[in-house]
Amino acid sequence: MNEPIISRPESGTDEAVRDALPTTGAPAPGRTASGESTPGAGAPGTLSGTVAVGAVHPAGAGAGDGVPSRADARAARRHARRMRRFDNPWLDPKLLWGVGILLAIIAVGLVGRYAWDTEMVYTGSAPLKLPPVGFENLRKQPGVGEHPLGTDGAVRDMLSLIIVGAPNTLFVGLVASTIGMTVGILLGFSAGFIGGRVDDVIRVFSDVMITIPPLLILVVVQASFGDVSLTLMALLIAGFVWQSPTRLIRAQVLSMRESGYVQMARLSGASTFDIMFREMMPNLVPYLFGSFIASVTTSIVTAVGLEVLGLGPQRIPTLGRTIYEAINSGALIQNLWWWWGIPTLLLGIMFIALLLINLGLDEVSNPRLRKA
């Protein structure tokens, strides 16, 4: 085994201190093969679970005479509050905003079905080509309250399209990545843990598939299918989304396999299943989250790509489809900007939300990225 490494923080020094001190010779804060310093749910260092007790002593606060003034006390309290929030990486503003936006979109979808007449999503339900409220179209027709976001060239209400279409897009993303992650976990674990031939096969397979451009294949496949349902499209996309999680999990499992606690588990009579899911999995959770969000983003991008090309579900309203129809019907020339603009904007918001979640999760799994 290794030569001794010294200077490990001793005697009850907690994780915050260890992260703070230059741990000479000890593994750096963040992830290491032995799973040190992992902020998996429920594994608190002071960084994620502290009760900040009473007086905090921010450096330099307080007047020289030792009696803190009112202003100082307030400053100290503010500092303490900021520090406490800094404690728990799960409460990071990026993460909260990102999740919030996605939840808002889902809420709009759920509530909207009842609050708004979504029958207007079908053609012929409204006056033609009206702009959103407050704007005028080329024919000088103003927007009307009944169709606050305007209508499109096939006389469908935009708001209804959003209410129905946005959740659909999210749905495709979530289903595709759920399937992709599940496959990825199974294959990644098998490759990493069992090794040998199984590892070779899985690795080659996933590496080769990564190089194949998904859109190309899907265009061909979908074109031959004709009309597809949302679920079917999700399934097809899932076929191209499992490779990254597989590689990620395989790499993590390979390094975790040699760690001290896995050896201990083997000595304690743990079965392979036990080791994989009881010992390794909990430490993988932050990675899995991050990978999941990345997959969702990829899936939605692929789905929208297909839809904008005219493939994808023909009769089910989705954001991508709307953009397709807008372009196809000459919305660009007719200055019907709201037709393609609003779905695009909404897609943009979705991606920003996913990006924020991703950044927030990065900080959860790697304490070094957190702002000091």
Binding site: E3, S7, G12, A16, A20, P22, T50, M83
Partner: protein, 400 residues
């Protein structure tokens, strides 16, 4: 290299100081308060001597040196004190001046030095890099001569000149790092655990290389480590650190023969001997929260002689109980003649039994113990490392 320790104070004319560190404080900001990694460290390094800085994990020895070298990065900061080298106040230097003085006046052999060699460059290229960065370019031939000379100084064969780090053994890599540290003829070298990851025999070779280099160049050295045996072999004076503060500085012989501070005493007595089976001591008591050190002496929670005054007043700094031997401890006081006397000798020091000793024994012997039961059947009080509430609550924000 023995320096005349002279009668009288350190200001005697036989020695010139090259580095004076005074009340150095390095703190790290955390959500629940500053961790006082280095809390008021004062020492002087004299020309040509080797000072050993000894401490266990959490003692702050590496932090103190990063403070001296100004390698502290956020969330750490230098919170006070001064570092004066050759008359120059190091903390007042700006970034550019600092960069210029680094390596030329003060160089570092970092911990895990073997792993800090660039795997994609040859050894000689890396040494050339160091030299050129500080002295400008030189001709290839000159450089080669210089590098080979450095190799000779550290006992490396010339033919490794164009090899890559991975082709060398651990001991050789370490000596390459020493070569880099002496390349610009610095005044002071700081060796941070320079031999820690090496095998015993290789460690000896590297340690002897360091000694040789020291003699040839006349550099002053600070050696940081935790292996007391190695310190005994290598240094002229030893400073013992505990929890961010220096508790004792003494010439090496005195430290091993007559350690004055209770912590130094335990460190010495916990060294397992290679020649006789005798009790090894264990440090007991409870550690304190590094963010909220207790008022009074920093060692009070683990000291077997802690008195009331220890809990309220920090030890008067520093008590020079013998020439060149200073200790920060209330157990030493002046008697009627103004001489220093150890209260443990006069019987005035209490014993709280926080420390116990472990005795080697052969199978079949009845259990032999000294100083009370270390591993007994009962739980309360049996744990010398003091799992006790304070030790752990301390990490969650409350202080004792």
């Amino acid at each position: 290299m023995e320096k005349p320790t002279g009668e009288g104070s350190a200001a005697s004319g036989t020695r010139r100081s090259v580095l004076e560190v005074s009340d150095l404080k390095v703190y790290y900001a955390t959500p629940t308060g500053d961790v006082r990694a280095c809390d008021g460290v004062t020492f002087t390094l004299y020309e040509g001597e080797t000072l050993g800085l000894v401490g266990e994990s959490g003692s702050g020895k590496s932090t103190a040196t990063s403070g001296v070298l100004q390698l502290v990065s956020p969330p750490g900061r230098i919170a006070g004190g001064s570092v004066v080298m050759d008359g120059q106040d190091m903390l007042a230097l700006d970034e550019e001046a600092l960069r210029r003085s680094r390596w030329r006046t003060l160089s570092l052999i970092p911990q895990g030095a073997m792993n800090s060699l660039n795997p994609t460059m040859t050894i000689s290229a890396q040494i050339r890099d160091v030299i050129e960065t500080h002295e400008g370019r030189a001709s290839k031939g000159e450089m080669r001569t210089r590098v080979l000379e450095l190799f000779r100084r550290v006992g490396l064969p010339g033919r490794i000149h164009d090899m890559y780090p991975h082709e060398l053994s651990g001991g050789m890599k370490q000596r390459v790092c020493i070569a880099m540290a002496i390349a610009l003829d610095p005044t002071v070298i700081v060796a941070d655990e320079a031999t820690s990851a090496l095998d015993v025999v290789v460690q000896r070779v590297v340690a002897q290389t360091l000694a040789k280099v020291r003699e040839e160049l006349g550099v002053s050295m600070i050696m940081i480590g935790h292996d007391m045996g190695l310190m005994a072999q290598m240094v002229d004076r030893i400073a013992v650190m505990y929890a961010g503060r220096i508790v004792e500085i003494a010439p090496v012989r005195r430290m091993f023969e007559r350690p004055a501070h209770p912590y130094s005493r335990i460190l010495i007595e916990s060294i397992p001997s290679l020649t006789e089976r005798r009790p090894m001591r264990v440090l007991g008591g409870i550690t304190h929260d590094p963010r909220h050190p207790p008022p009074g002496c920093i060692f009070q929670m683990r000291c077997e002689h802690a008195m009331d005054v220890c809990r309220s007043d920090p030890p008067p700094r520093p008590q020079e109980i013998a020439p060149d031997h200073e200790v920060h401890c209330h157990l030493w006081r002046r008697d009627a003649n103004g001489e220093f006397v150890d209260m443990r000798d006069t019987g005035e020091a209490p014993r709280t039994g926080a420390v116990t000793a472990v005795v080697a024994r052969d199978p079949g012997d009845s259990l032999a113990r000294a100083d009370g039961d270390l591993v007994g059947g009962g739980s309360a009080g049996a744990d010398p490392e003091g799992v006790g509430d304070s030790g752990i609550e301390a990490t969650e924000g409350a202080s004792r």
